[in-house]
Amino acid sequence: MNDATINDAGEIARAQQIFENALNVTAPDPDVDIIETGLIDSLGLVTLIFELEREFDVQVPLESLEVDDFRTISNLVRTLGSLRRKASA
């Protein structure tokens, strides 16, 4: 959790908003496990990833994505942050 973007409340709020838009559930707290709580299914994940890509202007590498990468909103934001760093490096 040493990355500035991880602690950026704005990024978290933005991801929560997209999460709500894509999945029609009240966005959980950043550290809630969205898999275990059944908040997402595979069709929902398709929409979520697509909207995240659009909104954050990144390409999510589905081929190397792991369940932990989107297990919580915090993890999601962290995943997106590292993707953007890679893109700009």
């Binding site: 908003q17 709500e20 838009n21 999945l23 029609n24 595979s42 069709l43 398709v46 929409t47 589905l62």
Partner: protein
Amino acid sequence: MSQLLHDRVARTAESRPDETAIVMGSERLTYSELEQRSNQLARLLIDHGVRPGDRVCLPQPKAPAAILSMLATLKAGAIYVPVDIASPAPRVEKIVAAAEPSLLLASDDASELLASIGTDAGLVSVAGVLQGAEAGPEDADGYDAGPLPRLTRPSDPAHILFTSGSTGAPKGVIITHAMVDAFLDWALPYFGHQPGDRISGHPPLHFDLSTFDIYGSLSIGAELHLVPGDVLLPSQLASFIRDAELTQWFSVPSTFAYMARGDAVAQGDFQSLGRIIWCGEVLQPAVLAYWMRRVPQCTYTNLYGPTEATIASSYYAVTAVPEDETAAIPIGTPCGGEEIRVLDEALEPVPPSEIGELYIEGAGLSPGYWRDEEKTRAAFVTEPRTGRRLYRTGDLGRRDEQGLLHFLGRADSQIKSRGYRIELGEIETTLTALRGVAECAVVGVPSGGFDSTAICCAWVSREDAELDPKHLRAALSKALPAYMLPSRWLELTELPKNANGKIDRPALRQRFATGSKQ
């Protein structure tokens, strides 16, 4: 001669009693278990007052118990209504009110949802049925497991599927035993299904496509492998196909695109797989090419058809890897027992190769919408030339020189997103009813991703109202299921209008397509 759907399953149970019928995770039901438990449950339902022609709502997630509940309902002579328990309570309430069931046969996951809706119907929990050890008031174990007398005819309704309706209320499509039977009579010999096939169960059970998975699989003596809800990633879906050694995969195109995007399919992957079938939306040629190159041993079939003619009405077998990525895959030729006409507004055939609206005729046609004469009359029409009953699909298409049908979009404001059909009017009606919304328009825009169409909403607030997408979305989500919620929002001071004073939808679509964000 048409058969009852549960008779098809019973016959399989007679010839293959100890073979596996349904698998999901660690749950496994053999044909004899499926048959006997559904007989017991049918008697329990009858004991709870369910009579032939009654409706039984099934608010249950995808699971073997849900399919058992469907069969039990049919054996009791009643009509089942699958209910998506992820839908918001007001929508579920509308569906239950419209179905007017004599009983709700529910899973425990649905208890919170059901507590928040008003209904006079009785409630039975399905939980005890599969775990017969725990005797309770709903335990079916005490009931006779032998066959029941036939209480229905093939022309009777088997289930009602509620889909999005343009005026704001979901509409129920009546599906009879004979409709599904007619499709299976064509599909099973055409695809060459065999006992012991291992067939995917990917779509949710309130979705028309699942009808093929369930009754196709169970009439032939195959294993139905229901895909659990926690199989999420492209790589997990691929592992599921490998581990279950599936012989058939059937889903909406977005799943194929999602797996291709995730590059989840290796060269020579899925050795057991023989058939790949998709339906519900257009599959991008590039996605199909990806699959065909990696899994070359499969047959690839595009199915087309609305719920009103159950599962599919036309098919096209793709035999060569598509070269041209802009040439859409044809929807092909009618399935056996059905005909598709390309007609103009006067219901006269258009000249060869010209565009018209697609109309379906044949044994697969629904008797209409549940208790909605007006909608039924509007959608099911009589062809003047022949006196035949036709279903007006609202889809535009043409027949090419080879006689192949091509789908060319919608004649109205219905869209498909992730395989679900959505009436944009239903979203607009719900939005307009919100306080503070002066005007709104909802359009579908090609999303460019694997989620084929993005639902986009432009709105004008009343002067005294302060609305933002978060509030609008929250309000909409109380009435509409997740797949119907707009993912893009745009506030305007006025909506663009055309010369006739109507909302200029092409202009709005253009605006969303060129990237206006929130």
